[in-house]
Symmetry: C2
Subunit: 286 residues, 2 copies
């Protein structure tokens, strides 16, 4: 999807948040915000919103030298959710509809997003899980996804955030033999890279590849040959998170998007509500 004017204030807020994460130096903050403003003034609205997030991170990296501003937040999220994993597994096991419950939980995990909500607190995850188990969800799409996952031979599962990826194990592990997990190629926001996939216990469970890119989404022309090959040959792609949705919405590959709707640009597009659980399948998009 293209960038809208409504995305612009978020870019600026985001730049300031990343500046504060990387440095206590007010002069750095001012330099980062001035250069972000100049850069965004020249924005190409035809690009997707995550493309600008990548540019902002590159800018902050150049000015502060910090390559992974979210590393502490990412590691806290991983530790926090690993501790929750037995509880999450129990929720699925005791459910009458374990697949649906797993889907609800992996979408709940998508709320662990410090990029769209700088003030997100891990403590709120318990409440979000409880809500997600009761919230409206498209049961028809969930049923279709279950049948597609059962039938598929080669699933590409594209992860989103740290912490969330621990939740994703609920959906990945039952299908592990036919899943390849894709993560980001380099640190960006609190998105999962190979490092945190490994810390989240996914080594040895599934094959892990990365996009080769530091974009919080997938822009195919920027991706590694390995990623492109998997993207083209998979008979089912599962995409987690709003950034992946924003960048792959127009693909013609057989894809399901699982995410929480996090901003008004998306809720208007989907005619939905903030915080709603989104299961958007290939058939529904067309």
């Amino acid at each position: 999807m293209k960038t809208t004017t409504d995305c612009i204030p978020c870019f600026i807020t985001h730049s300031l948040n990343v500046a504060k994460l990387t440095s206590g130096n007010q002069d750095h903050h001012k330099e980062i915000i001035r250069k972000t403003l100049s850069m965004v003034a020249d924005i190409d609205f035809d690009q997707t919103p995550p493309a600008m997030a990548k540019k902002i991170h590159n800018l902050v990296h150049r000015i502060t030298g910090v390559e992974d501003p979210y590393v502490r937040i990412k590691d806290e999220s991983t530790a926090f959710t690993l501790e929750m994993l037995p509880f999450l597994r129990h929720e699925v096991e005791k459910s009458d509809r374990p697949f649906e419950t797993a889907v609800r939980l992996v979408i709940a995990g998508n709320s662990i997003d410090f990029g769209t909500d700088h003030n997100f607190h891990l403590d709120s995850v318990h409440r979000i899980i409880a809500d997600s188990l009761k919230q409206q969800i498209d049961l028809e799409a969930v049923g279709l996804l279950e049948r597609k996952m059962a039938k598929a031979k080669d699933i590409l599962y594209i992860g989103d955030n740290c912490g969330e990826i621990v939740f994703d194990r609920l959906l990945i592990e039952p299908f592990r033999k036919k899943i390849t997990l894709a993560v980001r190629g380099k640190p960006i926001l609190n998105d999962v890279t190979r490092r945190e996939a490994s810390m989240s216990g996914l080594d040895g469970i599934v094959d892990i590849i990365d996009t080769g890119d530091a974009l919080p989404g997938v822009v195919l022309e920027n991706c590694s040959q390995e990623f492109k090959r998997h993207f083209k040959k998979a008979d089912l792609i599962i995409s987690k998170g709003q950034g992946n949705f924003e960048t792959m919405l127009e693909t013609d590959r057989p894809i399901f998007f699982l995410f929480k709707a996090k901003c008004s640009v998306i809720t208007r597009l989907l005619n939905s509500e903030l915080g709603s659980l989104q299961v958007i399948g290939e058939n529904i998009r067309k």
Copy 2:
């Protein structure tokens, strides 16, 4: 007060909001946001935040030709609050502490601010009034203000927003013979100008002057000679709203600021909370 980096995202959001108020044309929105971003990239952080609001309005005016984007909102606010005036008067009359109640209500009126909250709804005013009658307030400062107003011979009352100015009548009318009311010189945000002061029933009640400037605050060097004269000779100045506070905080004139705290930059400065009632007197500031 100086502008902080935390003010920057608000400028950008504000620019987009004003763009939408003035035009349904997406190309206008894009031009306005691009030019705002470029302008803000060159910001002088030593200037006060309201100085940038004025620049953004000038920019929108140049691009769209619309001089007063808030005119409909302003007139709705005036009509809405004029209808409430008998109820507001009754609240003061039935109070055991009528001066304190009037102060609480004129600060409640300051919540009618479409500049800091584009989604403000007039319907919420009733709840805000009920809250304001119970909220924590600095009673010592209120008592001091009461004594100062009783003793003063020449009060300059500097208004802020439309709608709010109708509430201000509760505090202006009992002291009308010694009050000069100052309003903005030109349309800016939903701030009160001579036009809306007149529509709010203040003609003939007090002498009305204007700042001569279209800034949502008071930067003395931009103001008319008439305003400067009154500002210098008044033995008490009452300043309404956060924009006036931001621009006159450092004055050495005998001034009381009455406003609701509306952003985190201000709540950090005052060690206070969002939505708190502020009565900041000359003695307290020093």
